[in-house]
Amino acid sequence: MTPGVELIRGTGLVKRFGGIVASDAVELAVAEGDLIGLIGPNGSGKTTLINMLTGHLTPDRGEVFVRRRKVSNRPAHVYAGMGVARTFQLTQLFGRMTVIENLLVPGLSRPYSTWQAANRRARRCLEFLNLAHLERMHARNLSGGQQKLLELGRCLMLEPAILFLDEPFAGIHPQLRDELIKRIQELHRGGRTFVVVDHDMESILRISQRLVVMARGRKIADGLPADIQADQKVLAAYAGL
């Protein structure tokens, strides 16, 4: 199932919000080269899981390991420094900063980076994402799809080993969605590892090599897309059948 070296592992991750158990002893291991689709109905705990695996939420119980190093309770920037990048469910850009500045922030946060090198990489990244012509525009003035692409670019500037994309296809034009899928596949072929959360089943099935299904804070299935699609437990929980 896991094609390469283990990049990140969450063991027994528990998170409660008041009386609600958003994550109930969830286990997830992601290996180098994986392209995982993380699916589940609303409120099933997908984003909570991503938040815990990227340092944006401290688990009540359980541990997170990045490259076998325990990092639970460390702040999010430590995860980013170790090559764990993420996007957010509702796009979170630096709105009143220019497109290129949005990329320079992660570019310059890396140790030993220089302005010259970061600028060069940011421009290459903008070319790759077809955003080069918008370089000096404020990020808040971009369209929804362009903002998603820029958020992906911000992740890439960290030169990450693994990218968690939280609902990257939500609310964007089908043409831009196709472009985003193309970029994800291209990056995956180039060696990047992805965990993609989305409700757009068609897109998820197009790209995923492995599907993880969550329901009511629990992981209920983990396997090949073809197997998962036929899993009665998944159909019952996810599709309400």
Binding site: H56, P75, A76, H77, R96, M97, T98
Partner: protein
């Protein structure tokens, strides 16, 4: 011509320095106080404009810097510059501590917390009569024995210039980029690898240090120090200055300090009515020109120094690297 605006600024400063001896004592005092507020406005802009930490305790730090310096000079007879340096260190340490305590606060919560801190400081300085002389005022040693205010003018000018160069170095470096990223979205900044907590604490410490510098200078210029220096009235004036000028840029914040200080003097004939006038101007600025009244002018001025002649973007890509 590239850098033209810098040359114009340098020429204006040189002209001011040459013309200064011809100013009468009253206007020279106004200019010195404007420069005192200039340092405070710039450092508050670093905190509120660049990082989005809307602290209402900035004047309290000026007060702490002033009292620390004045008391150390009085008790131990140390040279005034050393006393001022001690005031800066004290403010940096306290500012860092407040920044650490406020790590999870922002917006109105941070404003109320720092307001509470400022009131505590003011009340301590008011009630500890034996040490601070309370509301009667602490007589402080003056920086220069001269009757003329000219040496104070040049000192204020030097302190403002050095402060602006240092803060300018910060905001044009990668630190400045990170600070603005934190202002825009702390979570996204952290996801981009920026140590948000560390930057918030350090910025609080730096801004408080500059407030302490301004307070130390004020203490040894005026010759008497009262707890009202750290009061809400002066904090409100500082906010008005910075917001009206433009809080997201150091030069516009300083410009706001100059404009408001001069207008406060020009409108003195209107008595207390001038304060509501400034209140109304502040409301209108917040409603119609949130980047400040001087920002559009500054952008046009800055454009003079750009090779293309194009207007500088609100967040032009910094090229200079003052290594963090």
């Amino acid at each position: 011509m590239r850098g033209l605006h810098i040359y114009i600024l340098l020429a204006a400063i040189a002209l001011a320095l040459v013309y200064a001896p011809h100013l009468n004592a009253y206007w020279m005092h106004v200019a010195i106080i404007a420069m005192f507020y200039g340092i405070l406005a710039a450092s508050w802009s670093l905190l509120a404009g660049y990082v989005g930490l809307f602290s209402l305790g900035h004047m309290a730090f000026a007060s702490i810097g002033g009292y620390t310096s004045a008391l150390l000079v009085q008790w131990y007879g140390i040279p005034i510059p050393l006393g001022m340096a001690a005031g800066i260190v004290m403010c940096c340490a306290l500012g860092g501590l407040i920044g650490w305590v406020c790590l999870r606060m922002s917006g109105p919560y941070l404003a109320i917390f720092t307001l509470g801190f400022a009131e505590i400081v003011r009340i301590i300085f008011s009630t500890e009569d034996d040490v601070t002389a309370g509301m009667a005022g602490l007589h402080t040693e003056r920086l220069f024995d001269a009757i003329s205010r000219l040496p104070f003018f040049y000192t204020a000018c030097a302190l403002l210039t050095v402060s602006l160069l240092l803060m300018g170095g910060i905001v044009r470096s990668r630190w400045g980029l990170f600070l603005r990223a934190i202002r825009e979205d702390e979570q996204a900044a952290a996801a981009s690898g920026v140590p948000v907590a560390r930057f918030r604490i350090v910025t609080f410490a730096i801004a408080s240090g500059f407030a302490g510098l301004a307070g130390g200078f004020y203490a040894h210029y005026i010759g008497i120090l009262t707890p009202s220096l750290g009061g809400l009235d002066l904090m409100a004036i500082l906010v008005v200055m910075t917001v009206i000028g433009g809080m997201e840029r150091l030069p516009t914040a300083v410009g706001g300090a100059f404009v408001v200080e001069v207008l406060l003097e020009v409108l003195r004939g209107y008595g207390q009515w001038r304060l509501p006038i400034f209140g109304i101007v502040l409301l209108l600025t917040m409603r119609f020109a949130r980047n400040g009244l001087l920002t559009p002018l500054w952008l046009r001025f800055e454009a003079l120094g750009q090779a293309s002649g194009a207007l500088a973007s609100a967040a032009d890509v910094p090229q200079k690297d003052a290594e963090a």
